[in-house]
Symmetry: C2
Subunit: 547 residues, 2 copies
């Protein structure tokens, strides 16, 4: 048996894992110390060089760690390992796991050194949370045991645990757990795809077709999905995947907080019906990626009900508000959704993925029902074997429910709610600092845990603001000083670029937020100085010369 | 900050993780010892009771571990944690991570005790591999750092590492890495969906439509997908998701080894074209789930080329043969596929998921291209920031590439090839034992690492064989003695139920395989005895009485 072939499972698993986990912890520590900030400096070229150097360098150190002379080719490079013989005896003797440990420590240090680490207070760009150590540790148990949720006999206890968790999450959103259903997903994109698929088949079923079981989409149908201008792009992507086409998505106007205008939705629905089109779904967003804006759920539910249209709520971000007594009222009405998306790898502090898809009525899940003779034969079902196969678009499926369940068991809703509130407070603190700063401009009051703003360049011209803000963010990345978000407001023309702090680290202090904003201002000023210098350089003489 | 809120990242991460990982290792050891076999005895009801008892019981032990009196309600239950206040001060003091450790150890022990552990030689039902400890440890680094592949600034080094790995994997299958493209996926089901989506848009693009970008599927098209009768059910599922409908999939007949008949494919394609239908894709299977049968790839590639149809190869299982010098020739022709699926969580010993999707020509990826202003704005791309967003159907995406790369670095292709060969040998050993046993019947010679067979009941009647084989497998599950596969051969009528050993544990010995088969025979005999007894019991007097 080659070195490194020890398994994680069984009675011997823990002892096989222990030295390897020590190597990973050492690599995490090495890499964090080497990085010394929120991300590596040097930008894409610098990171590419770092990775290339580490891979090329590995051979020498790996072989020297075994006391053997260096191999003629880079045995430690994954790619060269594929091309050449990656298992030369010199790389480790049976029973001596020195080489796997060494490879792990070095590759982990590389990954760590080259990470944008959301646990650093200056890494605050995306809905990219710093995970809880306890959730990460729970995830290790899942990797080690490798259960798969596509059949009971690959995941007996995990099947029970996911079922219990889904029931609890259904109750959290206000569904009746006895009649709701759901599954853990790879994230909001998959959850949105599932919601829109079920809505498609629901609408087509009523229109006489049934895309899933029968011969595809009916020929005489013009399906329409209504989502706000600020809805996540995965709605368009889902429409494309589902064969409806991206153009099936009608963008409904939003207000300044990026919330859907219900009156506009009403008009657009009326017009679509008047043209003989088939409304398939209204997608409400509870927590837009940028402003955290929450569409007016009760009004949208009324409208969807009036037109008999499926209501899907994308609460991938805003669902976290349900954990907080202070913020939960923002999601009133979510319990009227036919389906919804939650992401515990956003406001839930789980390592990705930890998506959740729920439907209010289990029977609407029917188009996904699936019988596979090798996974859930009818006689097994009669004998009482539960199957989650028909709840997911995937087949092999890691029980990501476990880390969520462990987190809830340790922290409870209240513990998690405190983390949500802390991040909400940080966003308001950031907004106050931005408001008070003459060189910064706030877009709108934070709703959840983001602050959207921009640096004001001296000229005040919209195109200058766009260019300088985009450039200052890249400057911070290249210098390894900060990871701040960059986005664009809906609409057309210049002046829409904004910066964003997505505050998901509850250990970040208000002073660290202020320091981060000061860093942004300094980068904006440096960018303007550099622009002015470049304008004075020789290529400036070409101005006015026809191309 | 509530207890349990420590983060896994940053300089403090390793120290926060260490005691929690110790708790998980202890829980894995506790659970494996308590289980004492391949799975818990008692069947679904037994496992449900185990989980319920552990969740109900946890409160008492959790609180007693802190030295505090028991709480009035079960604070340790994830669900109750949501419903009640799960963060009572009694559960842990700031700086004392005793409670999170305790919760983790107990929940891990529960998951472990309730697992079907593929590291046990008697757990051999599914393409559900026992993962390598080193891959599991590598996965921990990913959980701890939480990179996400949807933008460079969430995963600088991980973006580079995945890009390098995909290039290496393209070379492994015989693609030109300079012109191929690909991505790491959640498994064969997602990879098959991607291949069929690209084939759909390729076919529709030529037919004048373009489902992804434009208004959905053209109205005048009858799309057809050709896959063998033994192809994975995810092909039908993909057709349903994509709006083509399950009926768009034409099942091509197979031989006894479950390999597609190329002559039949040719006829079916000719007929479809004659009817004015649009062939969208031929799906070849390289390694059917049951027999490991590999469709005749060179002939199918010739036919697909002749009709100008996209060839997708589902090598989720058989792709592992590429790691073995002995078995790689079975996959000759795979390099002619337009797209293909590989799963390193099958013959690659990774914890799930570790799927791979590859296309031969990067330009065929165009329908998935995606621009999100907050993830990959055009000016970032111009500034040299790479983006993997348009390569995946997901948005948030954990770098599952890392564990694969670490495994390759430590074991190399040759080391992994030895594991493949060992499992292949075990399957042949199982087949020889089955052939030699009067009460067992082999279906066909193993191709990869499965042996498909059945127990012969005394009557020899097909319906009896089906019932007894299905029942003996459940008997083994209920007794906690073995997890063997159960499937049905393609076709209609009784006599198609088969048992299956899927041998993915390279540490299993031939003697353990023989012991497992002896256990199967004993269970078959016990089942027949019990049936005979039941037939002699009082309800037997009802025989012949009209219902």
């Amino acid at each position: 048996m080659p070195a490194g072939a020890a398994l994680s499972g069984g009675v011997a698993g823990p002892d096989a894992l222990r030295p390897l986990l020590d190597a990973v912890l050492a690599g995490l520590a090495d890499g964090a110390a080497l990085r010394g900030g929120p991300l590596p400096a040097g930008g894409p070229a610098g990171v590419a060089a770092l990775v290339a150097a580490a891979l090329g360098d590995r051979e020498h150190r790996a072989t020297s760690a075994t006391g053997e002379p260096a191999e003629p080719s880079g045995q430690g490079h994954p790619g060269e390992a594929l091309a050449d013989d990656g298992n030369h005896p010199a790389r480790g003797r049976a029973g001596e796991p020195a080489v796997p440990d060494d490879v792990l420590r070095r590759l982990t240090a590389l990954l760590t050194r080259g990470s944008a680490d959301p646990a650093d207070p200056a890494c605050a760009a995306h809905l990219h949370c710093p995970p809880l150590a306890l959730a990460v540790a729970a995830d290790l148990a899942v990797s080690a045991l490798n259960p798969s949720q596509d059949s009971w006999d690959q995941a007996p206890a995990a099947t029970e645990l996911e079922t219990a968790l889904v029931r609890d999450l259904a109750a959290l959103v206000g569904y009746d757990p006895a009649t709701a259903a759901g599954v853990i997903t790879s994230g909001g994109t998959e959850s949105n795809l599932m919601g829109l698929m079920l809505s498609r088949d629901h609408a087509l079923g009523r229109a006489g077709g049934h895309a899933t079981e029968l011969g595809g989409l009916p020929r005489d149908l013009s399906p329409r999905i209504f989502a706000s201008e600020a809805a996540h792009f995965s709605v368009q992507r889902a429409a494309a995947v589902l064969g409806l086409g991206e153009r099936a998505v009608t963008a409904v106007p939003v207000d300044r907080d990026l919330r859907m205008d219900p009156a506009a939705l009403d008009v657009l629905l009326k017009e679509a019906v008047g043209r003989g089109e088939t409304p398939v779904a209204v997608v409400a967003t509870a927590g837009t990626t940028d402003t955290g804006g929450i569409d007016p759920l009760p009004q949208l539910a009324d409208i969807a009900e009036r037109y008999g249209v499926w209501l899907h709520v994308d609460a991938a971000y805003g669902g976290g508000a349900l954990l907080s007594d202070r913020l939960a009222p923002l999601l009133a009405g979510v319990e009227r959704a036919d389906s919804l998306s939650l992401d515990w790898h956003k406001l839930g502090w789980q390592p990705a993925p930890a998506g959740v898809f729920l439907v209010r009525r289990a029977e609407t899940y029917a188009p996904l029902a699936r019988r596979a003779v090798y996974l859930n034969p009818a006689d097994d079902e009669e004998a009482g074997y539960p199957s989650l196969l028909g709840l997911s678009l995937r087949t092999t499926r890691r029980p990501d429910a476990f880390k969520i369940a462990a987190t809830l068991a340790a922290l409870g809703r209240t513990g998690l709610g405190r983390l949500v509130d802390t991040c909400h407070d940080l966003a308001h603190h950031a907004a106050a600092t931005v408001r008070a700063h003459p060189l910064l401009e706030l877009h709108t009051t934070p709703v959840l845990t983001t602050a959207v703003f921009r640096y004001r360049p001296a000229s005040g011209l919209p195109a200058d603001a766009d260019r300088v803000n985009a450039a200052l963010r890249r400057r911070l990345l290249t210098e390894g000083r900060a990871v701040v978000g960059r986005t664009e407001l809906p609409g057309r023309g210049p002046g829409r670029v904004r910066l964003k702090l997505t505050l998901l680290n509850p250990h970040t202090t208000p002073a660290q937020v202020d320091a981060l904003l000061a860093t942004v201002v300094a980068a904006g000023q440096a960018e303007e100085r550099d622009e002015a210098e470049r304008a004075g350089e020789p290529e400036g003489v070409l101005e006015g010369v026809p191309a």
